[in-house]
Symmetry: C2
Subunit: 370 residues, 2 copies
């Protein structure tokens, strides 16, 4: 376990909450329901996305890391994070989207400390510029202590239509948070023209699902529309084994819809612009771009065992996870993903459609491969 640095005492009221869910279907056959994206090393750095997420947060919060994951992945999470305390691994009996997951963590942390602040960070994103990341998290904590729900808004680098956006308002004057701004709206995924306008004006940031908020405030905001959910989450926090009976009754709802959007309309949300490198590694095309940014300058990017890849004149990406030699010859923008029981061959332009392949395999009764 990394020793906490000076920030750990400065942020001694803060716990990192890591919702570890989501299959990452567009990364099939690497990512599967049985071994989802967050369990994989997708950057070749030797750490899974989950491990890298914890590594990034430990210097800020020390031991205070809570992971929320599904029952199916609890063993794998424990294996990847051997230092995590049993009480800090919250296991969902079934998937219920992000609000119940983060809400459960909030209820647990509120019992530990009524003034606890939680910072929620997805387990399957890649972040660069860690000094900037740490600075913006610290700023967000300062604002969160005043009772706001604080989001970190990513500075767009291209006119993305696959993300939601956060509208940036006037400066929010909080000591220790010089960059904090008001926000009054979370915006759904825009069309291409709108996305280009957002990029030009700079008045909208990507919503990467990073929230910093006092646990009690999150539950208070949730209570407005979902009082039953808050009551159930607090009962589970008080009596953890009761989760087996209570969990199934919780609605499937995202934290954006349940809390962030109504709270923004009510003026309770702040945004800290976050100008660090960020990637949600949504598909193999973005993975290839990410590998290029993190140092691979060959025309063909390689993930996995480089010794297994022989390339003559191809560009694109090969993920060599099948233990076999992969030869690519004269194919432009190819994507080859080799695993022991399945190999995918496609192009960067078709990486979004990998989701449909998984649907096809399920229709064909090949759930063993998905």
């Amino acid at each position: 376990m990394a020793p906490p640095d000076e920030d750990a005492s400065e942020l001694s009221d803060v716990t990192a909450v890591i919702p570890a869910g989501g299959v990452g279907t567009r990364l099939w056959p690497l990512s599967r329901a049985s071994a989802p994206k967050f369990l994989h090393d997708l950057t070749g750095g030797g750490r899974s996305l989950l491990q890298a997420t914890v590594d990034r947060l430990r210097p800020l919060v020390g031991d205070r890391v809570v992971v929320v994951t599904g029952a199916r992945h609890a063993d794998a999470v424990r294996a990847q994070l051997p230092d995590i305390a049993a009480a800090d691994l919250l296991v969902e009996p079934s998937p219920r989207d992000s609000m119940p997951a983060v809400g459960l963590a909030a209820a647990v942390l509120e019992r530990r400390d009524p003034d606890a602040v939680l910072g929620s960070f997805a387990a399957d994103h890649v972040i660069g510029d860690l000094d900037v990341f740490a600075d913006r998290v610290r700023q967000a904590v300062h604002v969160a202590r005043t009772g706001s729900l604080v989001t970190l808004g990513i500075s767009p680098t291209y006119p993305a239509t696959g993300f939601g956006y956060i509208r940036v308002g006037d400066a929010r004057r909080v000591p220790g948070a010089p960059d904090a701004r008001h926000t009054d709206a979370f915006v759904e995924k825009p069309d291409a023209q709108t996305a280009r306008r957002y990029l030009e004006t700079g008045d909208h940031l990507w919503n990467a699902g990073m929230f910093v908020v006092r646990a009690a405030v999150l539950l208070e905001l949730l209570e407005a529309a979902h009082p039953d959910m808050v009551r159930e989450l607090r009962r589970i926090a008080a009596d953890p084994p009761s989760i087996e009976q209570r969990w199934g009754s919780l609605p499937r709802i995202s934290i954006d819809h349940a809390v962030a959007e109504p709270a923004a309309r009510a003026g309770r949300v702040a945004v800290v612009p976050a100008p660090f490198a960020w990637d949600d590694v949504g598909d193999f095309a973005s993975l290839a771009t990410l590998l290029a940014r993190t140092g691979q300058d060959e025309a063909l990017k390689v993930l996995g065992d480089r010794r297994l890849v022989v390339n003559e004149g191809s560009t694109g990406l090969v993920a060599a996870h099948g233990g076999r030699t992969v030869v690519t010859l004269g194919v432009d923008d190819v994507v080859v993903v080799d695993t022991p029981d399945a190999v995918l061959v496609t192009t960067r332009a078709h990486c979004q459609d990998v989701k449909g392949v998984v649907a096809t395999l399920q229709r064909l009764g090949r759930e063993d491969l998905t």
Copy 2:
């Protein structure tokens, strides 16, 4: 073993000689030095190219089939042809090109019958229109009995630059061989313009290496320039175990250069035009074309286990021999060849360059894969 039909007695002096050599490097990773092309079923018909070659000749010559192969492949050939007599499998201690291989068969057959006629047919070609094939072989036998070296010349279907050609001369009047023609030249692989002219005029046929000739005539023609080779071959035929000492001294030379070209210049060669479907399955692009011609009308041709292949919007060829699922998504003219230890991804346009991949693997010390 197929029972010989009426042709077997008509052709009772004829033995089919099948040189089974050649790796088929451009079909890597399916074809390997350890498991060359002729041992593979490349049409999905359930028989290897070697087995199909024997199947095609048995109705003409019955049991009289001699296979010449390398020591490395003798066991595999015996396994694929369990009915072949030990004396009819000639095993070369080392590769010496086609002249020593066919010459050895000629010397062996000459000892069995001084008037023996041999018909030499490569083990790794695909032939359609078997009635036409049988008819043209029979015509060639009639001409061969007169003392000529007779080739079967394939009617070109496109302006190929990868084959040698046979120039067609005047009619050769031999009873039982209405289509036989004189020829005075074997032509090396032409440039594209010349190949187009050949196709237009129809006066040149593809040289597919099919010869019909009396064994004694072949040795006599060979003797003109290579008397030592003929002497050694006859000594091996008289004393088969001596092949181990004698074989290594034989020159590496093709039957075209050693016999056919000089004999053509001397007016000793005839050609029987052979308007049957023929394919040497030189690379995966021609394999895809062949599978289209033999009944696969899907945009993506499949060799191997069709249940392993899932295609969404791709065209080309998948050879599924790795036991794993192969998914192709939105790739045009793709070629994917999956085997247990290597997978090749290329395009139809680059199939000729597969040879270079094998050279690269050898340079990298990966002979285990070649």
